[in-house]
Symmetry: C2
Amino acid sequence: MSSTRPTGRLPAFDPEAGDGDELNFCSTCAFGEVCLPGGFDKPALKDLHCLVEHVGPYRAGDSIFRVSEPFESIFAVRAGTVKTCTVDEEGREQVLGFHLPGEMVGLNAIHPARYPCDAIALDTVYLCRFSFPALAMLATRLPGIQQQLFRLLSADIGKAALLASDYSANERMAAFLILLADRYAARGFSATRFRLSMARGDIANHLRLAAETVSRVLRRFQDQGLIKVEERDVELLDSPQLRKMARCILHG
Amino acid sequence: MSSTRPTGRLPAFDPEAGDGDELNFCSTCAFGEVCLPGGFDKPALKDLHCLVEHVGPYRAGDSIFRVSEPFESIFAVRAGTVKTCTVDEEGREQVLGFHLPGEMVGLNAIHPARYPCDAIALDTVYLCRFSFPALAMLATRLPGIQQQLFRLLSADIGKAALLASDYSANERMAAFLILLADRYAARGFSATRFRLSMARGDIANHLRLAAETVSRVLRRFQDQGLIKVEERDVELLDSPQLRKMARCILHG
DNA sequence: CGGCGGCTTGAAGGACGTCAAGATTAGTGG
DNA sequence: CCACTAATCTTGACGTCCTTCAAGCCGCCG
């Protein structure tokens, strides 16, 4: 497919430009808070920058790591979407989550010291790779880094708890869309128009629904004028209403 | 009620004895790995010991912290059981988890900087209170402490993901019982006989089931000879079979 | 073209929730 | 020690939401 597809609403990503210098380190990255000018001192920035290794591209379907591989690194998504999932012994997949640009992957591997899941690229993915031992050592010198690691880990506990709910298919789907929108917005992307980089089946699995139910709910939402769906492109027409439907899950 | 109740299978806990000296710091505690003799150096042990504050007793129903209170401390359970839960604006409760002796409470509050849930004592509870800023500062000096914090946080991500599954009521109940047994066993308690310190309704809520379903599943398990239930006392008669039922959830 | 995977739509079936009533226990005060 | 009440737990009957099963549609690629 040509790179000029008309529905490509995310800014084009050029892995060779814009995020390589020491003072503007990945402006959308999860470590942005501690790194961006004004937020942190330059030596820390430089240390962190020395630690990181840019990897990619991965193509759709490529694995970044596999379950039970020894834990070595955590990753920040620079571009693309990463799916994390487990496979039980019957071969059934369990989608744990989707990781958008600026978000971390692999934090759940620290404890078992092995990756407890697979990480799969859903489209073309570029990552920053952090050796965790090195990062932890750096964190002992730089409290800002340590704090940020604690925050990232703590936040993931909350995220994981979100979908543990037994709410209805409507509520779960609404919450999923709103969360996606908020996460895109937090990284500077559009909060009302975005492309679902994952298949319906993956969404369904993640929300613990059948793929058919996802289809039906999306159609219902569209019939009610809440969203507009075209293939994998979604436009939120009535975010407030969606947020209202999802408010019990967004635990507010 | 007398303190010599015949069903009291957990060792009696004397908060004034056994865990106060600097070299045997809470042998069942989540920090045990870094503190127990041989595992860690004495200065660290002493520093950690200075940091901790023993609090309690809390009585059944007492709150340890409430949602939206500013985050200050994390807690380790010394005795009793703590329930963490949120309450949405319709007043419906969401049980996030139960915390047994040796386990940590409050790790999910680091990121939002406010407690995102209530913590309620289910019976008589004694805690160790750690000021988190002080602990984080200590962690910059003592990599072992930092590592342990990272591990605890990472482990909680995995735990939270467990119950996100949409498995059957049987599978969820079996997993709940096995997890409980394993957690008790890890702290030196019996893995086959224990007392449920939480109400059926709390179990149901946590597993995203109706209280009636919990009753029915427990009865079914008993009729099948898998367990023996008497009020809140449970005996696992066929742990292997239960583990088999739950194996898909225990993500093996 | 023809096959394949992802997506949608419809109809039937099942697992769990809801409602309602009864059983057992715990807590309280006489 | 014994009522009395409230809370928890159990059990049954019924309804519902979602899954499962099945078929058809669409875009993609060999």
